[in-house]
């Protein structure tokens, strides 16, 4: 992103080559969370698992419905439409996995770290929903106020990893 605005001095295209890396980044992120949570998966009750899956499904439907009208009204190309939905939905997949981690470690010292991970992903969920919405409305620009949410997410991730190494 910085390459477009600071080096090439052009308006940030969307989608761009950067989106390949953003989307690709979800794979190791999801695998990392999944492997960690699966290791302790037997500590989860069926009720907690079912509620988390239900919550993820409901949120995915709500977010998709909320974005449907503005995205389709914007008459964007198919790749852009896919990206508009992909970011928030992939964030929700991460959030539901991280939520399982929080449930498992809630009574332990690792709770703090998992709370921060969840807070960080939640920031990304909000930021990506707003990003998709403002992009569809033609209101987004590099440095928009909503970018603060992405920065906050990074900050929470940093704090989560620090707390994790401190507690474990």
């Amino acid at each position: 992103m910085g390459g477009y605005t600071l080096i090439l001095d052009v308006e940030l295209p969307y989608p761009s080559i950067a989106d390949v890396f953003w989307i690709g980044g979800y794979i190791p992120f999801f695998v990392g969370l999944y492997v960690y949570v699966k290791l302790f998966g037997h500590a989860l009750t069926k009720k907690a698992l079912a509620l988390t899956i239900l919550m993820a499904a409901v949120l995915t439907v709500l977010v998709s419905v909320a974005l449907l009208t503005p995205v389709l009204k914007a008459e964007e190309d198919l790749t852009t439409i896919i990206m508009d939905f992909a970011y928030p939905i992939l964030d929700l997949a991460l959030l539901s996995t991280a939520l399982l981690g929080l449930i498992i470690f809630w009574k332990g010292k690792l709770r703090k770290s998992w709370l921060l991970i969840n807070a960080a992903i939640l920031m990304n969920v909000c930021a990506d929903i707003l990003f998709s919405y403002t992009t569809a409305q033609g209101m987004y620009y590099c440095g928009h106020m909503l970018d603060v949410l992405f920065d906050l997410a990074y900050l929470f991730f940093l704090m989560a990893f620090y707390v994790h190494t401190k507690e474990f």
Binding site: H42, I104, F105, G108
Partner: protein, 102 residues
């Protein structure tokens, strides 16, 4: 009950490997730092070991405890059967009784 202590020491060492070698080292470090318990004294103080795990992992500790107990039963040649409301200490007591019976 030296057999039980020796088997438990090995089972804890192997069971904790599910966290990786560095994870296992962290648990031993925590036991020493927070509970003044050296690695070789852990089998004689299983309650402290369980408390330490629960303090760090919360409900997730059950998974590590189960891995350790399964290793222990395997080493003692006892068949492991899942029992409702059985925790680490209950399984350990059952193993002790089984050894006493011979």
């Amino acid at each position: 009950m030296e057999i039980l202590k020796k088997a438990l020491a090995e089972a804890i060492d192997e069971g904790l490997l599910m966290l990786g070698e560095s994870g296992r080292d962290v648990i031993y470090f925590r036991l020493k730092q927070s509970y003044a318990l050296k690695k070789e004294d852990v089998p004689g103080n299983p309650e402290i070991f369980v408390n330490c795990l629960r303090e760090i992992f919360g409900s997730g500790a059950e998974v590590i405890e189960r891995a350790v107990i399964k290793k222990l039963y395997d080493k003692l040649g006892i068949e492991f059967k899942e029992k409702k409301d059985f925790g680490f200490m209950e399984y350990l007591n059952e193993a002790r009784k089984a050894l006493e019976k011979g």
